[in-house]
């Protein structure tokens, strides 16, 4: 069980449709806090919403009631990359961080009355362990119990393309949790396929990949995905090259996202829910 973190207040810039009550401002009439229109009582026979001012002003002595937009539920969907590179353990266990992201989102979605779904994919989509988006009280617990048992294997995350077909047709809020060590162009084409959704790429990084690398010494690095071995003699010049490479990687991910109007959320080390909330408030650009 992870420690209690504040809820994530995600936010979308569009109105979700659907008749499931939730926290977002919807587009269908119903119980809500935003005035939609004023309608005759006979059209909407709810005397509690009686609009006195409009009724008094009406020369025809009709009785008017207010009609509101329904506060609709949103569908929050998390896509998790389960390729072998997600099993990397540096300062933090990368998959543990992915679990934290997914479970905190599950908790926050439930508290907001939103539907929550999880899809996992490595080289192939994991059909045994998927959670279709429903208002699911136990999604959080399900993730706590099963997430770490998922095998991190496969050389790429191509299975995520198969997941697209399983997603709802109407727009959802989609999080892609991955380290995005993908071939050039892969992220862009995935984002293209998800373009009618609101996509948040959650990029997981570890300080040992960027600036917390050992300064000097020799070692062998074992690529988790391809099994390739690399003899390295770490020294400041190589470390600088490494850091430059990682910065370039982040830049390429940002550029791929910018084209399709998304903004990557970068997690360095531990995941903090507050920083994701900040991201939705527009501070993290």
């Amino acid at each position: 069980m992870s420690q209690q973190q504040p809820l994530i207040h995600y936010h979308i810039r569009w109105r979700p449709s659907g008749h499931q009550p939730g926290a977002g401002h919807g587009i269908v009439p119903g119980a809500g806090d935003q005035l939609r229109s004023v309608v005759p009582l006979r059209d909407h026979p709810d005397p509690r919403r009686l609009d006195l001012r409009t009724s008094v002003r009406d020369p025809f002595k009709n009785i008017w009631v207010r009609d509101f937009y329904l506060n609709s539920a949103l569908k929050v969907i998390v896509l998790v990359d389960t390729s072998a590179s997600m099993g990397y353990i540096g300062y933090v266990n990368r998959f543990q961080v992915a679990k934290e992201v997914a479970s905190q989102l599950a908790l926050s979605a439930y508290r907001s009355g939103d539907a929550f779904g999880v899809y996992l994919a490595g080289e192939k989509m994991n059909k045994e362990r998927m959670l279709p988006p429903k208002a699911n009280r136990s999604a959080w617990l399900w993730l706590q119990q099963h997430f770490m048992n998922i095998k991190r294997e496969g050389e790429h995350a191509g299975g995520l393309f198969d997941v697209v077909a399983y997603l709802p047709q109407n727009p959802c809020l989609v999080f892609i949790v991955s380290d995005f060590r993908w071939p050039e162009g892969k992220l862009k084409s995935l984002l293209k396929k998800l373009s009618h959704h609101d996509v948040v790429p959650v990029m997981l990084q570890d300080p040992t990949e960027i600036d917390k690398q050992p300064k000097r010494g020799i070692a062998i690095l074992n690529d988790a995905e391809t099994g390739k071995k690399q003899f390295v003699w770490m020294r400041p010049s190589l470390q600088q090259q490494m850091a430059a490479m990682r910065a370039k990687h982040v830049k390429s991910v940002r550029e791929a996202c910018n084209v399709l109007g998304a903004r990557p959320f970068i997690v360095r080390g531990e995941f903090k829910t507050a920083s994701l909330t900040e991201y939705f408030m527009g501070a993290n650009i």
Partner: protein, 334 residues
């Protein structure tokens, strides 16, 4: 160049073990998320092979060193100067008689002329002084031989041995055993100089046929030559009378017999008949001439041992490996 030999060649079967480092890197491995954008680093690539090659070489040189490689030193021809001279000095009773003819009356009065042994001693001491490059050993004998001074550079010892040699009658002269003891001195010594047994004796003894055989073999083994300084007074037979004596008397004088025996034994041999002090000195000069000839001899060089260099090499290589192990990254983090 000489061929390379191994003292323990069986250990070379361990050489395939040297390939072990090629199976694994021997460096700590870390799982890493992705190496697809790892910068190409030529130095690391070189070091990757370098580490394994160094490990292979270190093991190989250790195995080879433990098999103890060496080359035979071979032999070189050298020219030795000087001589190794073993003085075999007779101190039997007869040696105390005077060297030159003396009137028995005067002798009874106690007016002794110099004795044979005394004259021999003085001349031998002079010989030692004249020949500083030689090595001397001393054996004295009457009834049995005594090894007085070993063949060594310690001249004072040989000198003292000669000075202390006094004639003493014990009725029997063990010349063959004395010669054998003198020859024993040459055992276990490299043959680097002329070997000379300088027998100073007045003879009067016999060598049995079985002893003769042994002596002959010993002279052959040690490659020594024999010089006999036959100290005698005018009364005694000259060694050259051999023919006549044997014909007329039917019995052979023991000294003549001894002379012919030595001559027949095959080693270089010279006899000097000396019946005066000056004669003795002449003999010594002759000896000097005979032994001054340079000796050509084969010198066996010690074999060359290469294990030390192999160990040194493996020490250096292991040192490098040790250093590499020290700079190895223990945990992939700062």
């Amino acid at each position: 160049m000489n061929a390379l030999h191994f003292f323990k060649p069986d250990l070379l079967w361990l050489l395939p073990l040297c390939l072990l480092p090629l199976l694994s890197y021997g460096v700590k491995q870390f799982s890493y998320a992705g190496l697809e954008d790892w910068p190409k680093d030529r130095v690391s690539e070189l070091l990757r092979w370098g580490v394994r090659i160094i490990a292979v070489l270190a093991l190989a040189s250790l195995v080879i060193a433990s098999a103890a490689p060496f080359t035979e030193g071979g032999t070189i021809s050298r020219i030795g100067k000087g001589a190794e001279i073993v003085i075999v000095l007779d101190r039997s009773g007869s040696m105390s008689e005077s060297l030159e003819e003396q009137d028995p009356v005067e002798r009874a009065r106690g007016k002794m002329k110099i004795s044979r042994i005394g004259a021999a001693r003085e001349v031998l001491l002079k010989l030692m002084d004249q020949r500083p490059g030689d090595t001397f050993g001393v054996v004295v004998f009457n009834a049995s031989p005594i090894a007085v001074a070993p063949l060594s550079a310690d001249r004072e010892l040989a000198r003292a041995a000669l000075k202390s040699a006094e004639a003493n009658s014990s009725g029997f002269t063990a010349i063959n055993r004395a010669l054998e003891m003198g020859l024993d001195y040459f055992d276990d010594r490299p043959y680097t100089a002329t070997r000379l047994i300088l027998l100073v004796s007045d003879g009067d003894t016999k060598i049995k046929p079985e002893d003769e055989k042994i002596l002959k073999q010993r002279f052959k083994d040690t490659q020594a030559q024999l010089m006999w300084i036959y100290v005698h007074t005018g009364y005694d037979f000259s060694l050259e009378y051999e023919e006549d004596i044997s014909k007329e008397e039917g019995a052979v004088d023991p000294n003549v017999a001894l002379n012919s025996l030595f001559r027949s034994m095959g080693m270089p041999y010279q006899a000097f008949e000396v019946n005066s002090e000056s004669g003795l000195q002449r003999a010594v000069t002759e000896i000097g001439k005979a032994t001054n000839k340079p000796t050509r001899y084969e010198y066996r060089l010690p074999r060359q041992d290469y294990a030390v260099y192999c160990y040194l090499l493996s020490m250096i290589l292991l040192g490098i490996l040790f250093w590499l192990k020290r700079i190895e990254i223990k945990a992939w983090r700062k």
